[in-house]
């Protein structure tokens, strides 16, 4: 039987992080354990209450470092669900979705979803961790022949095509980075704490022109975990639960890059329509967006692809301050992945949960009834979305 639109599918009752760091240190399982224990305690539960565990695996890894044997580091009872999710940048939202489905199928009651990654290691900086040839042509070794290394290559190619398509100025991505930095200054968890001016932005070095240093995400080592329960289960936490009102996925034939080149679309709109339809909402009902913005360009593209701005209008919308503190549609209110920290899909999800619960402190957005969150991967080829709310039943 289909769930009634506007009634929550599940609740997120606890969340927690490990220490987050720009220096190498603890291993992926160690960080994951810290985050899981923090989230369970935050939910007001004991480890013995947990009957489902979903491990979000980073696709940076040469080999699997977070295996299902990780469970032995926790004092858990018999589990009714134990699985690894790996779907590039969409892993974490997919984990929440899979937890919700398992709960509603009657398999489990309290599921912990965790993501842990250590892109910064003794032998490699974060840049190297993400510096493999990106697959654009789907032809073996093709990109290597042209020195097209790093996720930044694909996003820069998309950004250049986007900039040309709408005849945008050279500072178009800078306004997005500056808006995110304004939020970061209000967020204790953010790593970039210095005000960003356009002058400083334009003085920052190009990594791959048109993308500069300040257009790129700030990777950290760390882990984030969430406890997902049935929507009608009373919460033991000492903060309000957050309800999952809708979710979706959209994996279209084209990435944002090939879509821009071929005048086609990715699966982003599909993922948005699914989530909004489930919640019985439209874009105009959304109070806050938490977007996966590993590059400034991705934030602008997401605003357009998810239908919050018309094509070609996101740059102007951001420049006018509409996504900044006090703006019409606050976006990435902890600084996002550029100025906050980059832990793939866990970054926007964590801030969406915090804002929806009303516990964001100085940066809390007053109107937070409906929070939209996105996860994207593979140069904006894979998309997952969710709508979170403090209300179990939407009015």
């Amino acid at each position: 039987m289909a769930r009634k639109s506007g009634t929550a599918a599940s609740a997120i009752t606890g969340w927690g992080t490990s220490a987050l760091s720009r220096k190498p240190g603890a291993s992926i399982p160690q960080l994951a354990r810290d985050a899981v224990l923090a989230a369970i305690a935050d939910a007001g539960l004991d480890s013995g209450d947990i009957d489902g565990l979903i491990l979000g695996q980073s696709d940076n890894l040469a080999e699997q470092e977070l295996t299902i044997a990780f469970r032995h580091s926790l004092n858990l009872n018999t589990l009714g669900l134990l699985v690894i999710d790996q779907a590039k940048g969409t892993t974490m939202l997919q984990a929440i979705q899979h937890a919700t489905m398992a709960i509603n199928a009657g398999m489990v009651k309290n599921v912990v979803c965790v993501f842990s990654d250590t892109p910064i290691r003794q032998s490699t900086g974060a840049g190297e961790a993400f510096a493999r040839p990106i697959n654009i042509m789907n032809l073996p070794g093709w990109e290597r022949g042209y020195g097209s290394f790093g996720a930044v290559a694909g996003y820069a190619l998309a950004a250049a095509a986007f900039k040309a398509k709408y005849n945008l100025d050279d500072d178009c991505f800078g306004h997005y980075a500056i808006a995110c930095r304004k939020w970061a200054l209000l967020a204790p968890s953010a790593f970039m704490k210095k005000e960003l001016t356009m002058e400083a932005y334009l003085a920052s070095k190009f990594i791959v022109d048109p993308l500069r240093l300040f257009d790129c995400a700030l990777p950290v080592n760390g882990a984030v975990a969430f406890v997902v329960t049935a929507a009608d289960q009373p919460s033991n936490a000492d903060h309000p639960p957050v309800y999952v009102q809708g979710f979706g996925q959209g994996h279209g034939r084209r990435s944002a890059l090939s879509g821009l080149v071929l005048d086609d679309t990715s699966g982003a709109q599909y993922a948005t329509d699914m989530a909004l339809g489930m919640a019985g909402l439209a874009q105009g009902d959304i109070d806050i967006c938490q977007l996966y913005d590993a590059f400034s360009f991705s934030g602008l593209m997401a605003l357009e692809e998810f239908g919050f701005c018309q094509p070609g209008e996101a740059a102007g919308f951001v420049k006018a301050g509409q996504t900044s503190p006090g703006g019409e549609l606050p976006v990435n209110t902890s600084g996002g992945q550029l100025s906050g920290f980059y832990l793939q899909g866990a970054t926007p999800l964590l801030e969406a949960v915090i804002q929806a619960s009303g516990t964001a402190g100085e940066r809390q957005v007053e109107r937070h009834d409906n929070v939209f969150v996105s996860n994207s991967g593979g140069c904006l080829e894979y998309h997952a979305t969710a709508i979170l709310s403090p209300h179990r039943v939407l009015q």
């Binding site: 020195g147 998309a158 022109d209 993308l211």
Partner: protein, 124 residues
């Protein structure tokens, strides 16, 4: 015939490139050109190959300022070309004597190392 005896459409395309030729795939049934990214959808007996005109338009252009590998000292460019037949291809723009602009006409050739590269039409 074992699976290893079957040449994939991707390998067929790579064989043309290794010979210094740019050929494009067309779906036999519909006659429609196939994006190079979509080659694995089709088996070789579903595809007709036709030699490409080699002309197209610059669809994206970026300049690497960071060294990722000693074979590629910066600055160097990576470009996307939309071929006149429809498919797009990642490559690099050479013979850049003047300015480049997304949308400009470019033409293909193979460089000394056998790579497919493109040059502005005005320079060819």
């Amino acid at each position: 015939m074992s699976a290893t005896d079957i040449k994939t459409t991707k390998a067929q395309f790579a064989d043309f490139i290794a010979k210094g030729q740019l050929w494009l795939p067309y779906e036999k049934q519909s006659g429609a050109v196939v994006q190079l990214t979509d080659l694995e959808i089709f088996t070789p007996d579903e595809i007709d190959w036709k030699r490409a005109s080699g002309t197209g338009k610059l669809a994206s252009f970026v300049t690497f300022h960071r060294e990722y590998h000693p074979d590629f000292p910066p600055p160097y460019n990576v470009s996307i070309i939309r071929l006149d037949e429809g498919p797009f291809v990642l490559s690099t723009l050479v013979d850049l004597s003047g300015s480049h602009k997304i949308g400009m006409a470019v033409a293909a050739h193979f460089d000394a190392s056998g790579r497919l590269v493109f040059a502005p039409v005005a320079n060819t």
